[in-house]
């Protein structure tokens, strides 16, 4: 019995030697196959190119101002409709204390700065206000001529000025960006132009006030640094209303200029925050894992852009009204989001269901061969009376047993049973 105990002990000793064996290393792997959907790219590029052209053509007036201006203005119009809605909501919430104040980097906070210029301004003074009210879709000037790009920039600037809220600009630009109608660089350009226009506005208004004030106050106070076109901090030396006004508008412009940086930070990461009009779509995009399903995300964004383009065209040609376009898009948003969600959820089974008819075909063929052979080799010798019902029972039993053991999945088993039941 001694040696048995000995070899039992030996068995419990740690295992044997590990040998490296003389095998050569393998060859390097090839790079991963690129899975980009090539169909998407041209569309993106097209939109970007088209918009680049439009923006480029804003400065010199075009031969055909109609085409490009229309689409640009159309977008603005659509967005206007959107922003109108937002505005109404905001009004209800009565958050009208200037958010603008938060952006003030200026040191001293005067309580009087809470007053909005709009309260003090006579709408007749700007003149542009008139246009907004009388021209709901903003497509035409008062005299009926179509808006030029310049006009648009001017309009935006005026709007900002009146609202005293650069957020207006932010919203408009982010929407344009998100919809892929302009690129980042175009947005920068637009910002510059709007800033310029705004400057002009401010200086113009400042000059108007200056003139008025000059009538009532001493000249010396206001002479320093009120050069039109050059709005600097020096101009904020004076007292009262002018200073306050200048301060605010100067800060406005400054923040506009600084806004370049801020905007790039804000919008690059949260591109779709402004897509409040497409809540479901936005939610879906957020739910998609950017790393794993980048392609899905890209595809979805492109689709959305394409469809928005489409709606714009319809609005442009007067087929539908802007409100209707917006309504269409709303419905679209819900439909697409739902569809995609379902598709993404069914990813695992999607492939299976594609291959399933193919698999069933193979199984069908195998079953056919089986029945054929069984009929030939039936031991009882009754060729016509081959007992299919017994076979069916056997198959049903086996199929279930196989499902339980993980050899068949449920769909396969039911398909097999189905095939046998039809024989």
């Amino acid at each position: 019995m001694g040696f048995r105990a000995a070899w039992a002990l030996v068995l419990l000793l740690p295992g044997g030697l590990i040998h490296g064996f003389p095998k050569p290393r393998g060859v390097e792997d090839k790079s991963l196959h690129n899975r980009e959907l090539s169909a998407e790219r041209p569309l993106n590029e097209q939109i970007a190119e088209a918009e680049a052209d439009k923006i480029k053509n804003i400065s010199p007036p075009e031969n055909t101002p109609g085409e490009t201006n229309y689409s640009f203005v159309d977008n603005l119009n659509l967005l206007k409709a959107i922003t109108e809605k937002e505005k109404i909501e905001k009004e209800k919430q009565s958050i009208r204390s200037s958010p603008f104040d938060n952006k003030l980097n200026v040191e001293d906070v005067d309580s009087t700065k809470n007053r909005k210029p709009i309260d003090d301004y006579d709408s007749t003074k700007s003149g542009l206000d008139h246009k907004f009210q009388d021209d709901p879709d903003g497509l035409h000037q008062l005299d009926g001529t179509p808006l030029t790009a310049d006009d648009i920039v001017h309009k935006i600037a005026t709007r900002i000025y009146e609202e005293n809220d650069r957020g207006v600009f932010d919203k408009i630009v982010s929407k344009l960006l998100n919809l892929g109608l302009i690129t980042e660089s175009q947005a920068h350009t637009l910002e510059d132009e709007v800033a310029e226009a705004l400057q002009k506005l401010i200086s113009k208004e400042a000059n108007n006030y200056e003139e008025e004030l000059n009538k009532s106050t001493s000249r010396t106070e206001n002479q320093a640094g009120k050069t039109p076109g050059k709005v600097t901090l020096k101009a904020t030396t004076q007292n009262g209303f002018t200073n306050r006004e200048s301060d605010e508008t100067i800060s406005n412009t400054l923040t506009l200029a600084n806004g370049l940086e801020r905007r790039t930070k804000t919008y690059s990461e949260e591109n779709f925050e402004e897509l409040q009009y497409f809540p479901h779509f936005y939610a879906l995009l957020k739910s998609i894992d950017s790393e794993k399903e980048a392609k899905e995300k890209e595809t979805l964004i492109t689709i959305m852009k394409t469809l928005i383009d489409f709606v714009k065209m319809m609005v442009k040609y007067g087929t539908i009204s802007p409100e209707e376009g917006v309504a269409y898009l709303e419905n679209l948003d819900e439909t697409i989001a739902l569809q995609t969600k379902n598709k993404l959820e069914k990813n695992a089974t999607d492939n299976k269901s594609k291959l399933f008819p193919e698999k069933t075909e193979a199984y069908l063929e195998a079953i056919r061969k089986n029945i054929e052979w069984l009929k030939k080799h039936d031991k009882k010798g009754n060729k016509e009376d081959y007992d299919l019902s017994k076979m069916r029972d056997f198959i049903n039993q086996q199929a279930d047993a196989y499902v339980a053991k993980g050899i068949l999945d449920k769909e396969e088993a039911s398909a097999i049973k189905r095939i046998y039941s039809t024989l």
Binding site: V10, I18, R25, G26, T299, A362, Y363, A366, W373
Partner: protein, 476 residues
């Protein structure tokens, strides 16, 4: 719907549909498209055999197709699950699937235990389909085989490793990626090293077979064993396998025990007691594979040392020492004689070569199967005809015994010659018989063993008889 609004609606719907299509295209499997795979499958099909690599789902489907076509002679079962939960699928082919018929020997083929050695896996899938097809066509060899043998085919012992290997992009696969199981365990080094024990026993005295008897519990509690290894060990313990082959890749040779060198050196011919029959078995595979048995074949790689290769065969340890391998584990823990077949210089060759690998190996695979019907076989029973399980059958001159299975049936592979076979069991008187063994088929030799108590009774009766006779004669 003719109005402008209607047109707009239609157009929008079209755009939506287009969007929907775009969405559908998104979710694809890496590498080939599903449609592309289907197309290729049809092109390379031959009688239901598709000469292409089968991933786990396709492997399963292929086996299911074989079963569906040959329900009378096949059955699918699983030996356990891989680390990542894939079933270790086996398809069994016999005239009475699921049942061990007394006297019917059991055979197994195991492939792809190194996940990146892919040819064996595919060959076994092709083999299963081929056996089914040929059986139904009435191919006599195949019909006889299936009627007289229980054939178990496990295309992949390492499905996790295979998935890893197959997932590599491009056709050139790494020499090591996917070799081990999902835990990083090399399954062919993971079996209990019974060689070591045997070598000790050889010096100090002790058994050299069935060393795993009563150690089932230790196996279950051994944390170092991979789930795949454990599954196979249980499989070997449960079914009285007689002959087996373990399919690999990376070279072209039929390798036989022992795999581990006695001295512990890197290369050394280490013969087992059944060296003669193993050489014959290895040859029975290699001789039908033209590439393997080609004497003027250059080695797979320029600097390879194939000096130990003879007629496409080699002693394992003479080639290089392998401890903890499945082949030797079979031989030392059970009745099963297993060889290791290296099928291809390239471990994971391009799919287009699979058909030619099948052509090269088809006959070898069948011929090797037929080797199971060699040597001596029979039953060990008691005088009443009841089977005696776990009886020992020893052969004079060969220091390795086999034991009878539950029905008292045994099979002893031997090269042609004259032998003395002894059957013994505890509590029984051993019986020795002389046998002349041809190349094939197996010679039938049954044993009826008399138990000690029976003999005692007999002797007692004899004594009584004698006493009676004496007393009558001498007038007690």
């Amino acid at each position: 719907m003719a109005g402008p609004r209607g047109r707009a609606l239609l157009a929008l719907c079209a755009a939506l549909a287009a969007g929907g299509w775009l969405l559908g295209v998104g979710a694809q499997e890496p590498g080939e498209s599903a449609a592309g795979m289907r197309r290729r499958r049809r092109l390379q099909q031959e009688d239901g055999i598709s000469f292409e690599y089968h991933r786990y789902p396709e492997l399963r489907e292929a086996l299911v197709s074989v079963w569906l076509q040959c329900t009378a002679i096949s059955r699918i079962y699983t030996v356990g699950r891989s680390f990542e939960g894939r079933e270790l699928l086996v398809i069994e082919l016999s005239d009475n699937p699921g049942v061990h018929e007394p006297g019917e020997p059991e055979f197994k083929y195991v492939g792809n235990m190194h996940g990146n050695e892919a040819v064996g896996r595919e060959l076994l899938i092709f083999l299963a389909q081929y056996l089914c097809n040929e059986y139904q066509k009435g191919n006599e060899t195949i019909v006889n085989l299936i009627h007289s043998t229980r054939i178990h085919i496990m295309p992949s012992l390492n499905p996790d490793g295979f998935e890893k290997a197959a997932s590599q992009p491009g056709e050139l696969k790494d020499w090591f990626v996917g070799r081990s199981n999902a835990q990083g365990i090399d399954l062919n080094r993971n079996f209990p090293d019974l060689d070591r024990i045997v070598y000790v026993n050889e010096k100090e005295g002790g058994p050299n077979n069935h060393l795993l008897k009563n150690l089932k519990k230790i196996v279950d509690q051994n944390a170092k064993l991979a789930p795949e290894t454990k599954g196979v060990i249980h499989w070997i313990m449960d079914i009285p396998f007689v002959l087996s082959a373990n399919l690999h890749g990376g070279d072209l040779v039929a390798n036989y025990p022992y795999d581990e060198t006695r001295s512990g050196s890197a290369h050394e011919y280490s013969s087992c007691p059944d060296d003669a029959i193993f050489q014959s078995l290895a040859r029975s595979y290699s001789s039908y594979n033209p590439a393997m048995s080609d004497p003027s074949r250059p080695p797979c790689r320029k600097n390879d040392d194939d000096s130990s290769f003879v007629d496409g065969t080699t002693n394992g340890a003479a080639w290089y020492s392998v401890p903890g391998g499945m082949q030797d584990f079979n031989y030392l823990s059970s009745n099963c004689f297993e060889i290791t077949v290296e099928l291809s210089c390239e471990k994971f060759p391009p799919e287009e070569t699979l058909k030619s690998y099948w052509e090269d190996n088809k006959n070898s695979l069948i011929n090797y199967l037929e080797q199971i019907h060699r040597g001596v076989k029979g039953f060990v029973r008691d005088l009443q005809g009841n089977p005696i399980a776990n009886a020992t059958i020893s052969v004079e001159g060969i220091d390795h015994d086999v034991i009878s299975a539950k029905d008292g049936d045994y099979w002893r592979l031997l090269v042609p010659g004259n032998y003395k076979l002894t059957a013994s069991a505890p509590g029984y008187l051993a019986i020795t018989k002389k046998v002349a063994v041809p190349y094939s088929p197996a010679v039938g030799v049954d044993f009826e063993l008399e138990s000690f108590s029976e003999r005692k009774e007999e002797e007692k009766e004899e004594l009584m008889e004698w006493w009676k006779m004496m007393s009558e004669t001498l007038n007690f």
